[in-house]
Amino acid sequence: MKIYIPLDSVAVALGADALVAALEAEADRRGVAVQIIRNGSRGMVWLEPLVEVVSDAGRLGFGPLTLADVPGLFGDLGAHPKALGLVEDLPWMKGQTRLTFARVGVIDPLSLDDYRAHGGFVGLDRAKAMSKAQIVAEVTDSGLRGRGGAGFPTGIKWKTVSEAAGDQKYIVCNADEGDSATFADRMLMEGDPFCLIEGMAIAGLACGATKGYVYLRSEYPVAIRIMNDAVRIAREAGVLGPHFDMEIRVGAGAYVCGEETSLLNSLEGKRGVVRAKPPLPALQGFMGRPTVVNNVISLASVPVIMEKGAAHYKDFGLGRSRGTIPLQIAGNVRFGGLYECAFGLTLGEIVNQIGGGTASGRPVKAVQVGGPLGAWFPPSLFDTPFGYEEFAGKDGLIGHAGLTIADDSTDMLAMARFAMEFCAIESCGKCTPCRVGAVRGVETIDRLARGDTSAIPILTDLCNTMKLGSLCALGGFTPYPVMSALTHFPDDFARSKEAAV
């Protein structure tokens, strides 16, 4: 009997490790031989822990599995109360276009044989036969844009580093993933670590870099363990070596260290303060050398682009948002998780059709797209198609493609206050609009909460100052959640003095 039980953080947080122990004990008791494989997650969080039993017809899913459901796995599988049928046939799986996440949840994350059997290293092998300029051109032609938030074309960044003079260049993977509602980087690293390693190795070839770093946040213990194991295995197999090697570096709980220049300072062992640009990290990055800084998903999308060709990737999407995007649907949602599809679904389709509305069953009030620096969207904007320009056109951003769904019990003034509070806690302190503005922002919103509506123009003004005067997008974009809350939900800010007391 061959059984898959995810090692993904979500599955573990919902009891997967205890299931493994129970399954082994039950198998022992019955004298049945079972092989348990710890896979990544399929991304259907409401079904986790999702256990899969291999059958002649394919992989049969059971979930969300509890300890009481374990003995049933040794009986009539069709009659099991948690039986879901073939996992591949579930609507959530069938609706997706899994390019970057094709292997996540499917393979044993630490098996190089599994990785190769599912198309792994085809892209790297192809890249090895190409010139630096050809690899850069392929990535540029794919239309891939940075998935870390800013949406900068990946190929153009690589071209700058590739053509920069320097005896030592670096590929730095930004795995700081600090935004609420995002977990695509985590799932990829836990479920298909070799894919990220392959993407970084291709970036190394394209740019003439022989050393890579993954800056991985400390809040992700499972991802840290899997990535370290994967690097060791890849090194033993000669995939990594003197030609290109890499290290996993662990962050220390600072949100701002996801900002690329702050990240580089942190990687150098300094305080994670933001650097003024220019110089661009592409020219003077880690240790002052030319450096690519890319998000996990940007880098992990490169192998499939090299494997299937730029045109294949570019065929998906809309407008200037090409390819696929792993949506992370979170918060108060019925069907939460990771859903990879071409750009272009409307926000309403994502929230209501894929996400199934709220978990509480109450009406959706607002959706924050793009993490703590992203705008809150009301249902009246649910026709906005998911794309970089489309969201910018509605005074929002897609960021790292995380969506927090909130029901009608949510107080938008409280959410706006939180945005300012978060900025104040996480500001690196280098620029005044962010460091001081965020503190003033909390105070101003507290005045509103006390029914002092004369504070509204002050808040608007403050947001403008932060937007225009901050050194990086922490202070610069905190106005997005604040102003969108104020604009779309004015009632939550118009508290009568009596009600506020």
Binding site: S9, V10, V12, A13, L14, V45, W46, E48, E177, G178, D179, S180, A181, T182, F183, R186, S218, E219, Y220, P221, V222, E247, R249, V250, G251, A252, G253, A254, Y255, S266, L267, E268, G269, K270, R271, G272, V273, F286, M287, Q328, A330, G331, N332, V333, G336, G337, A359, Q368, P372, G402, T404, I405, A406, D407, T410, M415, F418, F422, E426, C428
Partner: protein, 152 residues
């Protein structure tokens, strides 16, 4: 608890093990904290000397990051996610009940040294919030019953 010369020796070993890394300070601080549960005062001059930094520079780095602590935590550490997705699932109310049950606020330790309560901003469990980490163990859809898990 190690005496201070044993501490110094162990820190020296950690420093040696990180020789050759580019930008070794964060890995060193993590390793020392993993060893002692916090960053003992004696470590700062030792690190500074090994990396040719000033003590103030080392201290400046330590104080910048939320993860590093200069005093020991309680015997158990509960980290509760305060970020947006978890808030939409009632994280604030859960945090309030946990604080009341323990009688402490964020960043505080119970007087008996049993539990420290820390906020965390996202554990990547945003579709099964409220999320928590109890002594390094991840918990999804948590509530105040977490407190029972750290009773002694």
């Amino acid at each position: 608890m190690l005496d201070s010369s044993a501490q110094t020796d162990r820190i020296a070993e950690i420093l040696t093990a990180h020789r050759g890394l580019d930008g070794p300070l964060l890995p060193i601080l993590h390793a020392i904290q993993a060893e002692f549960g916090h960053l003992p005062q004696v470590a700062i001059p030792q690190i500074a000397a090994a990396l040719t930094l000033s003590k103030a520079e080392v201290h400046g780095v330590i104080s910048f990051y939320h993860d590093f602590r200069e005093a020991p935590a309680g015997r158990h550490v509960i980290k509760l996610c305060r970020a947006e997705s978890c808030q939409t699932m009632g994280a604030d109310a859960v945090a309030g009940r946990i604080k009341a049950a323990l009688g402490i606020d964020w960043h505080e330790t119970t007087p008996d040294g049993r539990v420290t309560l820390e906020p965390v901003f996202c554990l990547g469990l945003c579709a099964c919030g409220p999320a928590a980490m109890v002594d390094g163990r991840l918990v999804g859809r948590c509530d105040e019953t977490l407190v029972a898990e750290v009773s002694e």
